[in-house]
Symmetry: D2
Subunit: 349 residues, 4 copies
């Protein structure tokens, strides 16, 4: 931590900072410039935070220097992690050696629609099924998901297809029910900073898919992962899904750079959701290609057997030609970049 004194700071102001830092067990190195003095702090960052140095007389600014997260940081865990999804005997990896394709309908509407979407996804090469049972919707008048009935449908489709299931949980009270049926618990973009929910999934005993908040910095996203990790769960997969900007042509702006930036900072795997980023199905294939090429560990994509009757996000669901193009990209590009298909590494009973 570095404390920057203002040009008007007195010698007493400087000494006050030094002595408070030493009080809490830290060391303070004073560098006196012509215009300003700066003070470098060495020791326990948390204890320095509690000093509220910014409120001290003569202090102009305080710069943090180290990463604020610990368990998810790559600093103490340089090797990138693989998270295994699915019940024992049927586990699919998400990590640095493979490329994992996750697909399914935005919302579970019925058993028929879900199994049909799962078959579509599976023939295109997907190894994990996505599907929403609890849907966070901007309007209280929009379809809110089938709830527990949706979870049961997903579980039965896993039986039928062998695909592990990822589904969103939006309320801490629902975590036990969702954790009973799902293999990967999704925290959606609106709940990235719902800390009670993060703690609840941290204790649920299942891997977590943590979407980036639509206006969260990468650092805040990793801090949210730290909330999960702090409860003893390091099976966390990060998902970049677009950030909010001024550009209206896409629903969000896919921050493709976030993938290598996050991978350089955390050991956790990072995947991309091009469907929710763009909100337009014509962009899903090119953005999936970009995700593979930039080094993402997987993609998660909306597919629906009949987008025009979808109860949620129909305009971004793939079918027909686009899905074939995506299947081809997922088959061809990762090997060109040194990755294998996730199914070839799956741990089958």
């Amino acid at each position: 931590m570095v404390v920057v004194m203002s040009p008007e700071a007195t010698e007493e102001d400087i000494e006050r900072v030094v002595s408070r830092v030493e009080d809490v067990g830290g060391e303070a190195f004073v560098s006196r410039g012509k215009v300003r003095t700066i003070i470098g702090l060495v020791g326990d960052i948390e204890s320095f935070h509690h000093l509220n140095l910014r409120t001290f007389a003569g202090v102009a600014d305080v710069h943090r220097i180290s990463d604020p997260f610990k368990l998810v940081s790559r600093q103490h865990h340089p090797a990138r992690s693989t998270v295994w999804i699915g019940p024992k005997g049927n586990q699919v990896p998400i990590g640095p050696d493979s490329f994992t394709f996750i697909a399914g309908p935005c919302a579970v509407e019925s058993a028929e629609q879900t199994v049909e979407a799962a078959r579509m996804a599976q023939s295109a090469g997907a190894t994990i099924l996505r599907g929403g049972a609890y849907k966070p919707r901007t309007s209280p008048y929009a379809f809110q998901g089938l709830g527990k009935r949706g979870l049961e449908i997903l579980a039965s489709v896993r039986e039928a297809t062998g695909m592990p299931i990822v589904t969103e949980v939006v309320d801490a009270r629902d975590v036990p029910a969702v954790a009973e049926h799902a293999d990967l618990l999704q925290i959606g973009t609106r709940n990235m900073a719902n800390f009670g929910l993060l703690q609840a999934v941290g204790e649920a005993g299942k891997p977590v898919l943590l979407k980036r908040g639509m206006s969260a910095t990468i650092e805040e996203w990793l801090m949210a992962a730290e909330y999960v990790a702090q409860r003893g769960n390091l099976d966390i997969v990060l998902c970049e899904r677009g950030i909010r900007t001024f550009e209206p042509a896409t629903r969000n702006t896919l921050d493709i750079s976030a993938v290598p930036v996050a991978q350089a900072t955390t050991h956790l795997p990072v995947i991309v959701d091009p469907s929710h980023a763009a909100g337009r199905k014509d962009l899903v294939v090119p953005l999936s290609r970009a995700a593979i090429a930039v080094g993402a560990d997987g993609v998660i994509v909306d597919v629906h057997p009949q987008p025009e009757t979808a109860l949620c996000d129909g305009p971004q669901a793939l079918l027909g030609t686009e899905l074939r193009d995506l299947a081809k990209a997922v088959r061809q590009l990762p090997p060109a970049l040194g990755r294998v298909d996730s199914s070839s590494l799956a741990r089958k009973g």
Copy 2:
């Protein structure tokens, strides 16, 4: 709703749209241009949404025209509302006729600190006390609030000072406890789209202070209010607290225009939080003045008897000179703009 056909749309594409709209009971007016055809839809918007018209062949775009919210809209309720805060016999208004000054510490740390902050706030003219018992913090290693003990302290300070209490609730499971002690339930910026929590406070029987999400559009903010209203609670106060932009000089960018924009669209009162918007105490007084002048129905401000020992947001808490300046502004400016102090309208037992 207006459907814009693409230049290549065929006559069949146009007829398909018209016939599906008529199927769900709507009317479709076709305007044929030289390059494009546009179709105006009249009828029930929700039923049109379910058609997923954007996925139809030949459809280039769909424009929504009406507001998506109903209960909170000013369209059906032109008069601006007043929300009354506090127990019977001790109620303070927030609404178009008065200006309400809310102040207190960011976090409740102890009974002494809270009562001292409340006295400071009260002498400066505040009529409602703010104070956090449950704190949503970016880092899991930061102080998370005193929880129930904090609520009890707040209740005892209400006894001592007569000031109604506003405090944040961050988890639907805590709503009953918070609603038992608090007079106004605050939904923080991170939880604006936590729909389960919105529904829970909508049923709690107490007024709600709904902060704008830091990256929420004004329309999304009003949709969040609609979630609360839909559960039967129209005692909602909106609070603009800054949005996330590229500018680093302030923690957030106070969107001062949001006050008149929201007031033109909804009948609910709108207040401003300059402390969390700026994150710097030197801006709290000028931004409070701006809030009064733009027509806000109140401000909510951090004060702390000793900012340098504050466990939360010390750098933005006011004391001494600044608080006196703010007190003066709150006393002088609202009358110049046709408003009275909230205390003069309070309904005292």
Copy 3:
């Protein structure tokens, strides 16, 4: 300047930084932490910049600490400046003691329209006339302004009304012609980083109104002012006119905090343009009130005798009731905040 070394930096990496800093005449103070070492640099910042320390082995980050601007900084010039606008014998101030109201049509369309708008502005209390002769337009097919003919009209209206003139210059080649007729040369938001144009107006011998770029940080805006100042012209007025954000309800988001932030950093006066910030005339009066209350040194507003025939930005031009409301605010609020009307300080022949 502070250099943060990465945890893996070697002793040689640290010495390389120290020795290069000393080579260019600086001093380097090394603070060794448990995890990282940080190095505080004292001396000439420009020479440190040329070292490209970020490219050195073992360097994780470099933090700048001092302001990068000099001439416009308040650090070496604590008193806030007043800029005088107009020919000798008819000068209107913009500065900390007065409040200056500038108004006029977005574009000069004809002598009649301009003189009529000027009369409207003057009766509402405006002391400087705005009007565009050269218009930067997003579309090449939109009205681009009357050019030199527009300048002549403006000059004749100054004759008729006694109001000094502010008008935009968009091309360095036009600076001599514009400087011949105008009293205040406006640099528009799109040209804030057109450095050749900034240098040209810096040499033109007339005061400059520098609008903030719609995506410029406050620091970049002051650096643009530094470009003008560096050519010997310190008669610069800054104008906040809204920044680009995700919020679609207003054309731009007025960054009202930018006024006190800029005033704390530079000695130059700062005014606000609520018309272009909002793009909606119903917001011009409340935003002007907010600008006065936050401490702005003036406002610049669009008025037009017949907005419905305006060739540019008709939807934001005031007339009738709104202009009367604005006139009232400009008359009443500044005195309540310790400022006088600019006309009472004008230096008349």
Copy 4:
């Protein structure tokens, strides 16, 4: 164009809109809903713009429906264009069939540095040389480029290497000199809306590389291209180089979606600048891969023989390993996606 009337609009208000539209030769189709009436306009958009319908009594909103650009639109020119760069007998294509790699130093510092950088670029597979002679810099105290001397160096390096040259022009007065020496005239991000400069390069008889403004929407970017096109020059290459967002980890946020969005809207080629987008050299290779995969027609990258002595943007310049990685990506990925190297299509004398 669609005019949305407010719920309170009277029959007269509706008739006024209809009659003014008909006055200018358009047709108006009225759709009367239960709450609102909407009016579809058919005819010449420009003439409707001049009506300022938004200022009419009873009008709530006006939606534009067609693209505002014409010459650069794909609507009237469905086939994607190829732009040829270089003197007759030595022309390199940028277009849909090839992938073009442009590289060179951010700034031309000397003949030696430039030729060395060009050789590096060429061995890595680059076919066009970039290099700045006129540099727009945020600070007036930073290196501003060698000007004409820089142009001469670039021309001599073209002689030596056979690589066509792209260089930035920042002032309309310099266009003739730059056009004399360069093969592709670059308009930088800060000048995207410098309309006089756009018109000047539109008349200069050389192809133009138009960078996206850092806060420009894709539509505004295409409108800027329309300014160039309108002067008779359709040899325009668009360049996405990152937009300004709240994320601080990268200098800008590369809007990778802008590539397919722009390619769907305009027939012009679109390339990507990963160096200026990220501002960090560790991201240049992954972002270049993403650009290739998303379908960009080329990349433009900073290389420097000695980044640590670079006078401009050293931290983002590639050398050694990274450049080899990039060379490999440029060689291998485009063929996997159906494109050939630009050199194999070059038109050599």
